[in-house]
Symmetry: C2
Subunit: 351 residues, 2 copies
DNA sequence: CTGAAAGCGCTAACAG
DNA sequence: CTGTTAGCGCTTTCAG
């Protein structure tokens, strides 16, 4: 059933090493010989065994992609970008869904390392213990993160400008005349979200006493958005504008708002983050911070391959992609009745 | 940097084969010896080389997942189900996006075969040439399709009851009083879609002269739905009800309808297929045929593994999952003005 | 340009 | 229960 190189060599009447050279296209084999080998290979329907090749060369031509959940369109976009870049370089992608579960995540890391992957693309390294992180760092394979760990580290990162995105969202909402803001976000160890929060809060601070904001932490998922929404509407009825840490969370929030009779954008203005394809399709079309997800995935494997191919000590790369506010219909300008407030500046920065 | 089994054996003061047995947990090694080996392994931070192991055992513990595009939430769900089942069995998944491009698809198949995967999960085999199909069938690895090829074949398939879904959609729309129906669908070689169409048309036929339907083929994507929608509204203004072959196509249609001033459900009733998570979030919430995507992915790898483990000749499995109509707000009952028509039967089948 | 030979790191008989 | 010995299928020096 499976034909080996040795058989090809025999069939072609040459030595196995010659057959190898002919097939792998290495310089140093006579034209006629090569054709004989190629012919034999075709005739016998030869298919090289990549495991054997990898064993000797030490390169697997495989990349690990370890994310929370591929069902989140955000990750699906990243995965596609990564896969396309990998395909272009003849690398395969092993897909791993961790749900950010510490055990699962580390089990995957080990397994990928044992499979000798060329490198690992990871959502985040925050749930790993310091020892595990060290083990990963010392494993010798390049790691690219979509979520930079706080503090110093030796991993590469490819991210959107989260701080700027948060800031944009805050400034936009305040520019629309909102004073009572809320930010609904995920866990505190999620650095991308932390940055978004920081940017948002800086925007609020920059408005002086004119605006203030409450931030509530929960799960940055559809379900989490729903729960955070219900909580918010109950505990903070005064809020008129919300910045959701990501779009799926915003979707959940939309659901909660509908159930509690809050109209978006009439009662509540809402800004999301990610700009998923469906974000323009929901009701109302969601105003959100756009980040280039596909490009991030792509850039991540490019960075990974660059490092994998590099000789000498590995030098981590940091790359940041710009963001922009995609204005749709989930926000409205409000008259400012509750407080004194200067004119809303028309030239308010939007990009 | 990398420590091998041989070194562990030396460190533990035993033979390499004993070390191997101790580590792989095979029966036949003294407790004390095993602990010595385990200790040495831990101390030296040993990580087995799975490529080497695979080379000798012939099993890679890897499954290929070859789909159109992971960005389609339908496939993301399937992928997640597949990945979870694979993880439970300690298998990894290699993700491949083909865009249904014949070349890409076959390149992937070859590459997966060369990587010695335990089996391949494929969206469809329709774009392969008969020779390629034969090659795949003879490769010796089990293949599970999410899209059964027409005619006889030796592949396993795991699918939803597409015919029944189409039928349900048709009956529902007709039961609501619609007479001028349309079905917007994808390419003719996509068997799932063909079945949906057949079911739908059978429902229309079953209504006798009371209803008729036009079917338009295009691309079964968001963009395709948009284009099909514009075409339909122009060429067939009489249509009051549409069955879209899948939800993302329906989303595109919603977009087209909005642009052309058609209100859903007021002017147009719309039924989709898939029941994506976002389908309930768009405006209006989409009535659609639900199919268990996650379970399909899961069942596919289970079937795959069953076959991979089986001894003797491979026997393909066929599995069909039930569907149901998820009623939301994209359809409305209409008064039947244009034709004579009996009372709508209240007991009309909905499941 | 081609052949011979030595492994990559591991498992699997087969003895002992 | 443990050691010896062959390889899995391929690449890669090193001679010739």
């Amino acid at each position: 059933m499976k034909v080996t190189l040795r058989e090809i060599a025999k069939e072609a009447g040459v030595n196995i090493s010659t057959a190898s050279r002919a097939l792998t296209g290495i310089y140093g084999v006579h034209k006629a010989t090569r054709e004989k080998v190629l012919g034999a290979a075709k005739r016998l329907n030869y298919r090289p065994n990549l495991m054997a090749r990898s064993l000797v060369t030490g390169k697997s031509h495989t990349i690990g992609l370890l994310i929370s959940d591929i069902r989140n369109p955000y990750f699906a976009e990243i995965a596609r970008g990564a896969e396309d870049a990998a395909f272009a370089a003849s690398f395969d992608i092993i897909l791993c869904n961790s749900d950010l579960d510490p055990d699962k995540q580390f089990r995957y890391v080990r397994s990928l390392l044992e499979k000798n992957v060329a490198g690992i693309l990871m959502n985040s390294v925050a749930t790993l213990t310091p020892e595990q992180r060290a083990e990963l760092a010392n494993s010798g394979v390049p790691v690219v993160l979509f979520n930079p760990p706080m503090g110093k580290h030796s991993f590469s990162t490819v991210v959107a400008d989260n701080y700027q995105g948060g800031r944009l969202a805050g400034e936009y909402l305040i520019g629309l005349g909102h004073c009572r803001l809320a930010h609904l976000t995920g866990r505190r160890n999620h650095s991308n979200l932390v940055e978004r929060c920081r940017g948002f809060l800086d925007a609020v601070d920059a408005a002086g006493g004119l605006a203030n904001a409450v931030v509530i932490h929960g799960d940055h998922s559809y379900r989490g958005g729903y729960e955070l929404g219900r909580k918010l509407f109950e505990q903070h009825p005064e809020v008129t504008a919300i910045f959701a840490a990501n779009d799926v969370l915003a979707f959940g929030l939309v659901q909660a708002a509908a159930e509690m009779g809050k109209s978006i954008p009439h009662d509540i203005s809402l800004v999301g983050f990610d700009n998923l394809e469906v974000s323009g399709l929901i009701h109302p079309p969601l105003t959100t911070i756009h980040q280039p997800k596909y490009e991030i995935g792509q850039a991540a494997v490019e960075s990974l391959l660059r490092q994998a191919r590099a000789v000498g000590p590995r030098v981590p790369e940091q790359r940041v992609f710009g963001v922009r506010l995609e204005e749709r219909a989930s926000c409205r300008r409000i008259a400012n009745v509750s407080q004194e407030r200067p004119e809303i500046k028309a030239e308010f920065p939007r990009v």
